[in-house]
């Protein structure tokens, strides 16, 4: 009786448990992908080329000064109001050629989304964070309009397979390898929306 020792714990299944965890993490880990706002820079103009003349009413000027204050069409504005103002400008449809615009058709604002240009100016002292916030709102304005247009088109018979899919989802699906729908048609629809509402956002220095 005095020789009794503690019974040994069976550790044979420990390795299995460890492997189970290993496999769990292997399956659930995703390597972080970078994401951000895509932009295209304008090419450098040859010096002898005449600058294109635009109507003042088709330009929506956004100025971000060195103190990160926002000046939209020469009026001080809060960041949260910027998106609404930009949508109003793009969606105006002043010359009546835009069939899907729901704006006020004010003749002193933009003619149609194809002609409307947002010009974003900044100063050297502007902080990058503020600049990104403004870019984000302006891209958001375009995305909101494109989403609306995408839902409209989705409810027509021609594009009925993409019903209730907004523009951002369409783009995601187009990139997604697991998407089962017709990708060529989806691309066609995306391109059509991009032509109808082109992202004309110029960055001036």
């Amino acid at each position: 009786m005095a020789k009794r020792s503690a019974p040994e714990v069976n550790a044979g299944s420990m390795a299995d448990i460890a492997f189970l965890l290993l496999i769990f993490f292997l399956v659930t880990t995703t390597i972080e992908k970078d994401s951000g706002i895509n932009r295209k820079l304008p090419p450098i103009q040859p010096p002898d080329q005449e600058p294109v003349i635009l109507k003042q009413k088709n330009i929506f000027t956004v100025l971000l000064n060195g103190k990160d204050q926002l000046l939209v069409e020469d009026e001080l504005m809060e960041l949260k109001d910027l998106r609404k103002a930009a949508i109003e400008f793009l969606d105006n449809g002043g010359d009546g050629s835009c069939t899907f615009c729901k704006g006020k058709k004010n003749i002193h604002s933009s003619d149609n989304p194809d002609k409307a240009i947002i010009s974003l100016k900044n100063e050297r002292e502007t902080s990058y964070a503020a600049y990104i916030s403004v870019q984000n709102e302006l891209v958001g304005a375009y995305n909101d309009l494109r989403n609306r247009r995408a839902l409209e088109l989705g409810s027509t018979a021609k594009w009925s397979q993409f019903r209730d899919m907004n523009f951002v989802e369409m783009q995601d699906n187009h990139k997604d390898v697991r998407f089962t729908g017709n990708k060529t048609k989806l691309k066609e629809l995306i391109d059509q929306i991009k032509i109808e509402i082109p992202l004309k956002l110029s960055e001036v220095q």
């Binding site: 550790a11 965890l21 993490f25 970078d34 994401s35 951000g36 895509n38 050297r124 958001g140 220095q205």
Partner: protein
């Protein structure tokens, strides 16, 4: 005889090594979770701003990274103004054209037009340096850029 047998029972039992694999696995998990895959060693502060209207950077297309921000703690002798980092070293604005060209040389020819330049700029940097970078990229004819950001509400940036 029984005398000798008694002696043996007094020896130390062998150390149980069954838990060794667990310790090793624990370490493995720790490093698995804590590892961040990063191509360059940063010598600058690089806290990205956040935005929500973002697109994923397509890894199918080639990407070059340009970092900018103020030098981090260990490199304070380089000043407190925002600086550019290309690959593993500080660089001047004028180096960007050469950098883009060297990136292009490394690519297959059919991929060259798809080269995207990801700008990873610290949120406390000012637009002066970003404007300079953009101007140089235009000179190098690398027009596809991406302002790399985190995901979140853009209004947080202003605080």
């Amino acid at each position: 005889m029984s005398k000798f047998k008694k002696k043996k029972s007094g020896e130390l039992p062998a150390v149980n090594t069954a838990s060794l694999p667990d310790i090793v696995f624990m370490l493995l998990f720790f490093f698995m979770v804590a590892t961040v895959m990063r191509e360059n060693t940063l010598k600058i502060e690089n806290r990205l701003p956040v935005a929500n209207q973002i697109e994923k950077l397509d890894k199918k297309n080639p990407i070059s990274y340009i970092y900018a921000g103020k030098p981090s703690k260990n490199y304070e002798m380089f000043g407190t103004e925002a600086r550019i980092q290309l690959n593993d070293n500080f660089a001047e604005v004028s180096d960007i054209v050469a950098f883009i060209n060297s990136e292009r040389v490394a690519l297959r020819e059919e991929l060259i037009p798809f080269l995207t330049v990801a700008l990873k700029v610290d949120k406390d940097a000012n637009m002066g340096i970003v404007g300079d970078i953009k101007q140089e990229l235009r000179k190098a004819n690398a027009l596809k850029i991406n302002y790399t950001t985190g995901k979140g509400d853009a209004a947080q940036n202003m605080q």
